[in-house]
Symmetry: C2
Subunit: 332 residues, 2 copies
């Protein structure tokens, strides 16, 4: 059995109540008594049982984080950022993976929500109309998903898409292909909207050449669609798709970036390690998670949350998978 607050109290010659106060600073304690209690606790190796504390109404100092797929580097970054920030604020983050299953999403949330101070939901698969019910159990913040009712942090997809396309246009590309993600994906929808809203110069077009699963194989299949389209540049739904694309292009003898420029989205680790390095839109993943934790903790601790909807800027990482349509010559 672990050391309890009663053990500490007894050894320090005080009552459990006083010891409790010494730890939580929730009431007056004589400085000397306070020191003595802490000393004894240290000596005995006492650790406060936060779950027992919370039973009486206190805080657990724990946050839940629900993630669809830890195997995806996108979420790994999110988890890292959240955990780092939470640690700074004295919170522990409990992560669970839902394996992309919306049911697991609500199950795991239900099993944790009452026991933690708040929850972080990463790109939940749960449809909009059920999100409200899901998040009603306690303080919640959404990461990379918007909602009318729940505070969220997201990166600026419209801007990210614009960054990518503007760069291609600046390189002289006029016929740009967009290899879209799966129709049912929430974030693919966001990208589509952003593309449709693009303000393009005359003579420049961005054409959707297909919708593929958000996996390497999707990109491989998409490669042929892109080649057939005759475009000189392609923006892929995300990096993993872009990597598959790259793979297929090499296999078909299409040179990147000489014959075709390729741009991805997400800046996953593999993007930097690919050959050629993949030009891609980087989202502030770690920063978004940190911000999310800040918002959640504000909520939890009853502070006013400044802004319930935070949109973070993205940036373009230019690597060698993109280049100008015509090699730059000296001006005549």
């Amino acid at each position: 059995m672990a050391v309890t607050i009663r053990d500490v109290a007894r050894h320090a010659g005080v009552s459990p109540s006083t010891a409790s106060r010494a730890f939580t600073l929730s009431g007056p304690v004589d400085p000397e008594t306070h020191a003595r209690v802490l000393a004894v606790a240290e000596e005995l190796g006492y650790r406060r049982n936060r779950w027992a504390s919370s039973l009486r109404g206190g805080a657990t100092k724990k946050l839940a984080m629900i993630v669809p797929d830890l195997t995806n580097p996108f979420f790994a970054d999110l988890v890292r950022g959240a955990q780092a920030r939470a640690h700074e604020l004295g919170y522990l983050v409990l992560v669970t993976d839902t394996d992309d299953d919306p049911r697991a999403e609500s199950e795991m949330l239900a099993s944790l929500a009452d026991r933690v101070d708040g929850s972080l939901l990463c790109t939940p698969r749960t449809p909009d109309d059920q999100l409200g019910r899901l998040t009603s159990r306690g303080p919640t913040v959404l990461l990379h998903r918007t909602s009318d009712d729940v505070p969220y942090v997201i990166s600026d997809v419209a801007q990210g898409v614009r960054l990518a396309v503007d760069n291609l246009v600046a390189l002289g590309h006029r016929d740009i292909a967009y290899l879209d993600g799966p129709p049912e994906s929430w974030s693919a929808g966001l990208r589509r909207t952003a593309i449709a809203a693009l303000d393009l110069p005359d003579g420049v077009a961005v054409r959707t050449v297909g919708q593929v699963p958000a996996r390497f194989e999707g990109g491989v299949a998409g490669g042929d669609l892109v080649v057939a389209s005759g475009a000189t540049a392609v923006l892929a739904f995300n990096d993993v798709v872009a990597l598959g694309l790259l793979h297929r292009l090499v296999a078909r003898g299409v040179r990147v970036p000489d014959d075709l420029s390729v741009v991805g989205y997400d800046d996953v680790p593999s993007a930097a390690m690919a050959t050629p390095g993949l030009t891609t839109v980087a989202q502030p993943l770690v920063a978004s998670a940190r911000t999310g934790v800040d918002m959640l903790v504000d909520l939890v601790e009853g502070r006013p949350v400044g802004d319930a909807a935070v949109v973070l800027p993205t940036h373009l990482v230019v690597r060698s998978s993109t280049r100008a349509v015509e090699p730059l010559g000296r001006t005549a």
Copy 2:
């Protein structure tokens, strides 16, 4: 406030004790009463508070999993495997990332160990002599780390290395370079030992050409060492290093696999997506995690653990980064 067992009891017209028994099956309950209690619970949306239960000595049905770096796909796979298996067994896995910090390792374990039924430690950074103290707080299983005192699951590194080298030898390579990982890394030590223990045919040599950080940049730097060595094939410490190697080789105009064959270790997702695809040793990551959970749950539930040290076999994934020294011609 959430629905409590007392609410259920009252609505069902029984005492809390009876309701408790109905849920835990820890004593005799009239079948009819049992059904009624469950029905009421369902109707009221009652959820048992496992942490409160555990206060009285019961199980939390929760496992802790301590991971050095979730950003590393190696661990992401481990987490997935563990979570899937735990779910099947009715357990929830709480994951925390230590950011490669041994201190965080013991801190997080301490903060969780008393509150979960058991802990899974993945390749802990804590030195051997302190591991015992760390794991004394409760049932613990080590994943991909050995110990004399703590049950563990690991993959057969000696076999993995042998698989890789045997394949290269079969392809006609006689001068094989080994690009080693950092001296202080526990798993690099394992690989070194395995290489030293190799039983090589006459005329075949495996030479360590350098020790580099286990990162992409390490591989990039190592590329020059490998080229300078004049070897016809190289085994890299792991896939990430191999990917850096590949990158540098392409940059220097060395063709892979024509001029040099490259083999990695781990089979991270990027290995399949690289161009050329990286031949690599695949460890049964998901399986090892599942086995670890099985062992841990046996321990937790007081069943005898069959074997406290499980060693799982690896296999070689051959992709296009390796080929025979001389192209296969027709036999004269």
